[in-house]
């Protein structure tokens, strides 16, 4: 279970989050939407301790991770897997080395067992037999899939997705949506997806939170959000811009 209480974060004089509170139950699939630069990724990074807030609490299974140092955070992070916007694959390693990285660091598993688990993870994301390829040889969609395989190979309780479909064509984006659902159902993980892709939000979210003006502006089921009468929510869902407003 993830709980965020009154989270505040600024970078220099730029206030990004101003008192964000939310609660995500175990096994739940939550999508965080909002305009570019609204602080979605910043919020996501706070959940896994990649960023430390200026104020507030982040509770993971009741344990407050705010103020923990990097070494104290290591066991907490074993509960997480994360898919980054650009996949963030280690470009000096092969796909197999990327996916099996955490196991090789642990040194508690034989090479053949690591190989078996890596192959199983790649099977989940429908990418068998690419273990020996380098990230530079993969397409954008394949990189995302390998990143997802790396995130789930440890069988984490929580998987975080940072803009999983950004920069992908609609067909590949659809396959990533399906994989997010497959991972959620097969491993019964808690999913937190940050996106501004409304199709992804509708398909993978059991609950949608909209971040606006540094706070959670709207929250509800996909049906509630997509049928919302709030002009700001509607404008975002329908993608209506006003050139007079620089932020739109």
């Amino acid at each position: 279970m993830i709980e965020v209480r009154d989270l505040k974060k600024s970078f220099g004089s730029n206030l990004v989050l101003d008192g964000v509170s939310l609660r995500i139950e175990a096994g739940e699939s939550v999508v965080i939407i909002g305009r570019s630069g609204s602080g979605k990724s910043v919020l996501l990074k706070h959940l896994i301790g990649l960023l430390q807030p200026d104020a507030g609490q982040v509770l993971i299974d009741g344990e407050d991770i705010v103020g923990m140092n990097e070494r104290e955070l290591l066991p907490v992070r074993r509960k997480f897997g994360m898919l980054f916007q650009g996949a963030a694959l280690f470009d000096s390693m092969t796909v197999a080395e990327n996916v099996g990285f955490a196991f090789r660091r642990d040194r508690q598993m034989s090479a053949s067992e690591i190989q078996r688990r890596v192959a199983a993870a790649l099977e989940v994301v429908d990418l068998p037999d690419i273990e020996d390829k380098k990230p530079s040889e993969l397409s954008g969609g394949m990189k995302k899939r390998v990143g997802l395989a790396r995130a789930i190979v440890y069988q984490p309780q929580i998987v975080l997705y940072d803009e999983p479909t950004t920069g992908l064509d609609p067909i590949v984006a659809d396959s990533i949506d399906q994989l997010i659902l497959r991972v959620r159902d097969r491993f019964e993980v808690t999913s937190v997806v940050v996106t501004h892709d409304m199709r992804t939000a509708r398909r993978v979210g059991q609950r949608i939170l909209m971040l606006h003006e540094k706070k959670i502006y709207a929250a509800g089921t996909p049906d509630e959000i997509f049928s919302s009468g709030d002009p700001l929510v509607r404008r975002f869902i329908e993608g209506v811009s006003d050139l007079k407003e620089p932020q739109f």
Partner: protein
């Protein structure tokens, strides 16, 4: 105090503090986590073997120039055979460690900063952290250890080549008596000169690796951030080597003179 904090002095002091904390974290990591021998050996290969051409040219030509210049001055006072002794003492305690440190700062320090900065801007360092891996354990410790091992070895090589090149220039080009040249070199070069040079190079190895890692892991965004981190890594580690060399010369000299 606020005024001081906003000047370059404040920035410099903050950077120094951050590098000290990084060094502390690396020492903690050495005792807490297991070293990846594969990464250490790769870094040793990268820093040691791949720096051969730079170190060979630096060591040899510095010894040759120093030999020739010393001879030109000493010849006036009929002290030709002391030429190699000057080359040897200079190479051992000053030029060997400092020039090797500067060359490695340019080659290795820049590469470390560029690699880590690229990893940072492409979120690879964040990915490491999400995989429950401390970046200091995985990125800093192998590089720091390799630099501590490689720099003294490279310095010893540069010193040897410098003295050898000075000998060749002295004997075969300038016609100095080989026996007296060699004998005086052995007479005036003490173990402490060699020890001072190797201790300095050990410290410079740490400076190059730590500054490179710090600048890389804390770079700004985008291509500009990577470029700036690389440049600053070379500039700051070179300046730190040159400034610390003065204090190391005084302190190590005092220590070895009292022994």
């Amino acid at each position: 105090m606020n005024f001081l904090a906003n000047t370059w002095v404040g920035t410099w002091l903050e950077g120094l503090g951050q590098i000290t904390l990084l060094a502390k974290e690396a020492i903690v990591s050495l005792f807490r986590s297991r070293i990846s021998w594969r990464d250490l050996i790769y870094q040793l290969y990268f820093m040691g073997v791949k720096s051969q051409s730079v170190v060979i040219i630096t060591g040899a030509f510095t010894g040759m120039v120093l030999g020739a210049q010393t001879y030109f001055q000493f010849h006036k006072v009929k002290m030709d055979t002391a030429t190699l002794a000057v080359v040897s003492v200079s190479m051992c305690s000053e030029l060997g460690p400092v020039l090797t440190g500067l060359m490695v700062a340019g080659r290795v320090g820049a590469a470390i900063a560029a690699e880590l900065a690229t990893m940072r801007v492409t979120e690879q360092i964040d990915a490491l952290r999400t995989l429950a891996t401390h970046p200091v354990d995985y990125l800093v410790v192998p590089r720091l250890l390799a630099a501590h091992i490689a720099l003294p070895l490279l310095t010893a090589e540069a010193i040897t080549l410098g003295i050898g090149a000075g000998y060749v220039v002295g004997v075969y080009l300038l016609g100095i008596d080989a026996t007296y040249l060699w004998s005086n070199m052995l007479k005036y070069t003490s173990t402490s000169d060699v020890a001072i040079g190797l201790i300095k190079s050990f410290i410079y190895g740490g400076i190059v690796a730590l500054v490179g890692c710090y600048k890389g892991m804390n770079c700004g965004e985008g291509a500009e951030g990577v470029g700036r981190a690389t440049t600053e890594s070379v500039v700051y580690s070179s300046i730190t080597i040159l400034i610390s060399n003065f204090f190391l010369t005084l302190s190590l000299g005092a220590v070895f003179n009292t022994l």
